[in-house]
């Protein structure tokens, strides 16, 4: 079967697209989550929260561009069908991403008395993006229908995904913050874990119920046996998370990485479950990846490039996370710390304050 490029190429591209959606959801998930938590922090904490995601958010959003690019490139027919069906939520998400993206910069550079306005834009934009992504997830799971039940389910997943993002955002802050903000972040995480659990539950319950195909894929023998680790592992992770959160923050900052790692693992498991349910469909129950794939020659050209470039991208992404490892501190653009020239010193301290 795998000697025919018309068979394995769509599969490889579906896997690549899935990978980049997964990286997006974790990576932009934490920085959108930080935005969702914004109103709960005081002004100094807000600056630190921004500083903890400042060097990363742009690259995080690029995974969305890659995912949508791969959809567009590899499955053009599905791309049109999905995006025209989701026209309005996509527009809401884009407006949200615009607002929060520019607020990052404007809140630090506009006159000081405009800062609250841009803080508001940052929060609203993060909410709009998270809610609309959750809504699209729900609608997608139910097969892109527009009935009342579908809308209701979409609203439900919208809330759960937003709370889920705020959870992973809080986990990120536990890792990057210290002192009072870290204590707050632990409390936020405790509040958010329920959203994650309910969201996972709702999605797991709904997808087999709406589709007999998905039901059969999960609840038949022997699939049930080797799929069992997925829910069991998730349950164990949630229990472990809850235990860890009750003990954080610990002296010497031990275990501050645990919530973020566990949250990432949960997102990965949930994603694997969804991927298993929907394969081989790209538009649920309507269009498979094989029916909607582009011409093999074109996919081949992209695959060659991807094979060369993706490892490099991962490499320099790791470099960037290494450069900015450790606790977040206020950002500045100065070329030098000491003996900085007067103007640079002056602008440096006002940059992000």
């Amino acid at each position: 079967m795998f000697s025919d490029p018309a068979i394995w190429l769509p599969f490889v591209f579906a896997a690549l697209m899935g990978l980049s959606i997964l990286i997006y959801v974790v990576a932009d998930g934490f920085d959108l989550g930080v935005g969702v938590l914004f109103p709960f922090a005081d002004d100094d904490e807000k600056d630190l929260m921004i500083a903890s995601i400042g060097p990363f958010w742009d690259a995080n959003e690029t995974w969305l561009v890659l995912a949508i690019g791969l959809l567009l490139v590899a499955f053009p027919a599905a791309h049109g069908a999905i995006l025209t069906a989701l026209y309005l939520p996509v527009a809401v998400m884009l407006v949200g991403l615009i607002l929060r993206g520019v607020a990052f910069e404007f809140r630090a550079k506009a006159p000081a008395h405009h800062k609250t306005r841009w803080n508001w834009a940052f929060y609203t934009g993060s909410m709009m993006a998270s809610l609309s992504q959750g809504f699209m997830l729900g609608i997608y799971i139910l097969g892109l229908e527009q009935g009342w039940a579908d809308l209701g389910f979409g609203l439900l997943t919208a809330v759960f995904l937003t709370v889920g993002y705020s959870f992973i955002g809080a986990a990120w802050l536990i890792l990057k913050a210290e002192g009072a903000l870290q204590v707050k972040a632990v409390a936020w995480a405790k509040g958010g874990i329920w959203g994650l659990v309910l969201g996972l539950g709702a999605v797991s319950a709904a997808s087999p119920l709406v589709s007999t195909r998905i039901w059969d894929k999960w609840f038949s023998w022997p699939e049930l046996l080797w799929l069992a680790p997925l829910p069991l592992l998730s349950a164990a992770l949630v229990a472990g998370l809850w235990r860890a959160l009750r003990r954080l923050p610990r002296p010497g900052d031990h275990g501050a990485w645990v919530p973020f790692a566990a949250a990432t693992a949960l997102f990965v498991l949930a994603f694997l479950g969804l991927a298993y349910s929907f394969y081989p469909y790209v538009v649920p129950e309507k269009l498979t990846i094989y029916e909607s794939a582009s011409a093999p020659e074109s996919l081949m050209i992209i695959l060659v490039g991807t094979a060369v470039v993706l490892p490099m991208i991962l490499g320099y992404t790791v470099l960037s996370y290494t450069v900015f490892r450790g606790k977040a501190s206020l950002l500045n653009y100065d070329l030098m710390a000491q003996n900085a020239a007067p103007e640079a010193a002056e602008t440096g301290t006002t940059t992000e304050r």
């Binding site: 582009s294 030098m336 007067p342």
Partner: protein, 460 residues
């Protein structure tokens, strides 16, 4: 209004907004690298201050470029599904290469470039600055390749109405690509030159005589003076290339109805498509023939050749193309006058210090001239391609999505409101930053006490 018209307005509004910021970041990245290298070599603090100011403008422009770019990539699916379904086999790989080779490079190294100077060795920071500049240029390359291919497609074959790539070399190096790419990169350089000159002149008018402002002003005026003649030559060659491949566009640019020789270069006219003639023509005799064919009786194509037997019009709308072209060229001439006058004044008087006040005011007025010319240029090119989306292959009408018009209208109004607010905020913040830095200079007159320095270091 129907979905097609609304989608066109929406796409046009989105891309017009988007291009404003890449035009700045493409060239500003290289300028920042230049400032950084000058500082590394000379150790003169003025270059570091120039870097410190312009890196903020860069960061702001970049953020606006990124968020509007993300909107662009969704627009293909939400508004123009027919585009990808028909030419996806060509457009897809080009867009994918842009994401893979350019976007990630820019986005990741931007973090290091902006905030990493104190965390990484100097060479790595310089390398990051270089990679960001390189990344923006790469992304310009890929998107211009795609856009040029849409104007002059080749290297493909049609199977069941779908385009299949046959020769990637021919696709990438399609006939109009070299002209379009060089013209666009030069446009970016000019936009940045006049932006730097304008804001520096503004600071100078506020009484800021710091070495960094003077150096930036001088640098920007010289950059503009060097680039504009090259741009004019490149534009002329671009026009000749268009004459070869899209004669109907050149006919519209020149406002020429009947094919023939000894055609004037029209400076003013009101093209009337209903009557198929111009009103109130003012022109230079034989001008168009001279420019396009290099002799007075050169034959220029006319719009009337592009009307089918049954009366269907196969050429673009005339007035917008005609006027957009004149705005671009007019702005280019103003740029030539301003930058050369500046260089002449600097040579004859005491360098940049000797620039008279009226000249500085004129420079401030030209701060965003690059934006005007760039938009006008794109309107010439893009409207001049209508009714085609991909020349000879796919019309705009065939590509549009089947989305209810009120939905498109609603999102369009939202986008327009946000874009208007953001442009106002962007321009406002640029001048605010300039004013703040100009004021801050009084502080800079006092040497920082060692106590203050300790405080700064401790705060890190």
């Amino acid at each position: 209004m129907d979905t097609l018209l609304l989608s066109r307005i929406q796409f046009g509004a989105n891309i017009s907004f988007h291009i404003l910021f890449p035009t700045i970041t493409i060239a500003l990245g290289w300028v920042l690298l230049f400032f950084k290298l000058r500082y590394t070599v000379t150790g003169d603090a003025k270059w570091m201050q120039a870097y410190g100011f312009w890196v903020k403008v860069f960061a702001l422009s970049f953020a606006l470029g990124v968020v509007s770019g993300i909107t662009m990539s969704f627009q293909f699916g939400t508004n123009w599904p027919g585009f990808m379904e028909t030419v996806g086999n060509v457009a897809g790989p080009l867009l994918a290469y842009e994401v893979l080779t350019a976007f990630f490079l820019e986005a990741v190294f931007l973090g290091i470039m902006l905030f990493g100077a104190q965390r990484v060795p100097g060479w790595l920071h310089t390398l990051a600055t270089f990679l960001v500049a390189f990344g923006t240029t790469m992304s310009a390359f890929w998107i211009i390749v795609l856009n040029s291919w849409m104007h002059t497609p080749q290297g493909y074959e049609l199977r069941e109405g779908v385009v299949h790539a046959t020769d990637w070399f021919a696709i990438v190096f399609n006939p109009s690509m070299p002209y379009r790419l060089s013209h666009m990169l030069l446009a970016s350089g000019l936009t940045v030159a006049f932006l730097i000159a304008g804001l520096s002149a503004f600071r100078r008018l506020l009484g800021d005589r710091s070495a960094s402002v003077m150096a930036s002003l001088r640098f920007a005026l010289i950059l503009g003076a060097v680039l504009i003649p090259i741009q004019i030559v490149a534009g002329d060659m671009h026009g000749l290339n268009t004459l070869e491949h899209q004669p109907q566009k050149v006919a519209a640019m020149e406002g020429n109805w009947e094919t023939g020789g000894n055609k004037p270069l029209l400076l003013f006219a009101l093209p009337d498509e209903a009557a198929r003639e111009n009103h109130f023509e003012i022109g230079i005799p034989n001008g168009a023939s001279l420019i396009l064919k290099h002799h007075a009786d050169g034959v220029i194509p006319g719009l009337n050749d592009f009307v089918a037997e049954d009366g269907t019009v196969l050429h673009p709308p005339v007035a917008p193309v005609f006027w957009a072209f004149r705005i671009m060229v007019g702005t280019g001439m103003a740029m030539l006058a301003l930058s050369w006058a500046g260089v002449a004044l600097m040579l004859r008087r005491r360098g940049v210090e000797g620039l008279p006040k009226p000249y500085l005011y004129a420079t401030v007025a030209m701060t965003f001239a690059g934006w005007l010319a760039t938009l006008a240029g794109w309107y010439t090119t893009e409207i001049g391609r209508q009714p085609w989306l991909v020349s000879g292959l796919l019309t705009t009408e065939q590509a549009v999505a089947d989305v209810p018009a009120p939905l498109v209208l609603g999102t369009l109004v939202t986008y327009l409101a946000i874009y208007a607010a953001l442009i106002v905020a962007y321009m406002g913040v640029l001048f605010y930053l300039a004013r703040k830095s100009a004021m801050g200079d009084h502080v800079a007159m006092m040497p920082p006490s060692s106590a203050a320095q300790v405080a700064i270091t401790a705060a890190e």
